[in-house]
Symmetry: C2
Subunit: 325 residues, 2 copies
């Protein structure tokens, strides 16, 4: 029998969730949700844990940021492949005592508010999930995103070609620079609200850019682990190398203001910008929906990955975060 806290949580989620929308024919309340994909489209699926102590800290991250980031991770995976969101599913396990305190209930409210605000902003119905009592003291979330893209049109990380130009959306290093500031003085960030000034607490998945890139890019990946690591993933999967121009990197103002701008830009994870390649003859716009697009290098036939700057090339070591299957 579920405890009253769990039942209250289920009730809160039910109230906020979509029972029916365009693609969601049946939401929460049966054994499965039922979705109707657009005719002639493939379905894209991604799942991402958000575990307290691994992906967030309750004493550092405001609850609204944890909810936002939980959904943003999955949406960014859809963006990287050019998909449009169809539905999200949230599995959430809470420690037993959490809903018994006012602080705990505020945390749950904040988490759901952050998640639903981003869901609403991106047209992503919450269509189901699971709840449970967590076995320990850590809050455990797992988010599943389904998206759609016209058959065979999705962007992959394995299809870059020698000679392609290499681009990124937005600016790099902001998330890890903000994370460093957060770790030093978390109390300064308690009341942060979702806007572009908070690249770590409230990253913005590049959904519009990803969908536009379906017809421009040859390959794409999202920058979740850091440029040096994600570029290596792209190169390994495509069996190519790359040369990155250090001077061309669009470095986020928060990273610029830090002690090590280039390190944040190369190795700081969780920027959730898109890294993509395009034919050297493709007409890649300077911006998409207000987000700048910057050419930062090119794809090479030889398999090494190099950073050029100060007149000479040096190997670019993957020094970001690796965690996914």
């Amino acid at each position: 029998m579920a405890n009253t806290g769990e039942l209250a949580l289920i009730q809160q989620i039910r109230q906020r969730a979509a029972h029916r929308s365009g693609t969601v024919r049946l939401g929460i309340g049966d054994d499965c949700a039922v979705l109707r994909p657009p005719t002639g489209h493939d379905i894209l699926v991604t799942t991402d844990f958000s575990l307290e102590g691994r992906h967030f800290r309750r004493d550092w991250h405001p609850a609204v940021s944890v909810g936002h980031r939980c959904l943003a991770r999955g949406l960014s995976d859809l963006a990287a492949m050019g998909a449009k969101p169809m539905a999200a599913f949230l599995s959430l396990a809470l420690p037993e005592g959490l809903s018994k305190t006012a602080t705990g209930r505020r945390w749950i409210q904040g988490f759901l508010a952050g998640l639903m605000a981003l869901a609403d902003a991106t047209g992503t119905p919450l269509a189901g999930g699971d709840t449970a009592a967590a076995p320990g003291e850590a809050i455990l979330a797992d988010i599943v995103l389904l998206g759609s893209a016209p058959r065979g049109s999705e962007l992959r990380r394995s299809t870059a070609r020698p000679g392609d130009s290499l681009y990124v959306t937005g600016a790099l290093g902001g998330a890890s620079a903000e994370f460093q500031a957060l770790a030093a003085r978390p109390q300064r960030f308690r009341r942060a609200i979702a806007d572009a000034a908070h690249p770590h607490l409230f990253p913005i998945p590049r959904l519009a850019a990803g969908q536009r890139l379906r017809r421009l890019a040859t390959a794409a990946i999202d920058l979740s682990d850091g440029l040096s690591t994600d570029l290596r993933h792209l190169c390994e999967e495509s069996a190519v190398g790359a040369a990155v121009d250090a001077a061309a990197l669009p470095i986020h103002p928060l990273a610029q203001a830090s002690a090590s701008p280039l390190d944040h830009a190369l190795n700081g994870g969780e920027d959730y910008e898109l890294l993509f390649t395009a034919s050297p003859t493709a007409r890649v716009p300077k911006q998409i929906g207000g987000i700048p697009i910057t050419r930062i290098g090119q794809i090479t036939r030889s398999r090494g990955i190099f950073l050029s700057g100060n007149g000479e090339d040096e190997p670019l070591r993957a020094a970001g975060w690796e965690h996914r299957i």
Copy 2:
């Protein structure tokens, strides 16, 4: 940076997982998996936690059973709605020390073996997921199942009608009777293997029956929480009542041999049989694919749920397990 244990786990899952199959156009290795649903079909989605200490105990359940049950829960949700499995996604977080011991590595191997054996037996490709280091000492799994059914043909729990007959597949109470025996003497079950003699350790999702019932049943639900609770879910969603004939209940031999056969059959959860309704004029077969089908009562216009036996009717209280959204 992932530790070597996590990387080894990812490697194991990659080796066992489907990179491509009929519906899986792209499996593990990119930001999302890409699935191609059959033309004219809807997509059904369900997610289920399997958390150590909540859904299983490492000192009670053999690892191979934990893997089997993790997938079986989701497959049973697909069965209840008449869907055919398309793909599974496994999110798995392991305590940091687990892969450093031989016992821990055997546990992981056993878990994956149990999950993959059922995946293979049911034609369910493992197409992705996520891995992480768990924040505590508990093993955390979340399974996502996607299935397909011809548009608008799925079975729901909200569509039973007064006068319909009420049926179950298989036998009831076996899972909770075996669970009782397991809790009393777990060492007896260390080497149990997946067969029909183990309704708790190795439940068999009724996929073939569910698909066949799409054209026979008016409503369906799977018996995950126990007959008394799941029948209440079905009746509440359908705005009807029910009368159950105690003498007609097909009670599992393990429950028959216990001290309280009827209690196991009515309130024991996790049988993963299907409870369904059909028009009184429908030709419901005596068995589907070797699984007996038993009429156990009928749906009534008045909203109460009653159990008849010993000459008089008594209200059937929902005394099973409630936990899902």
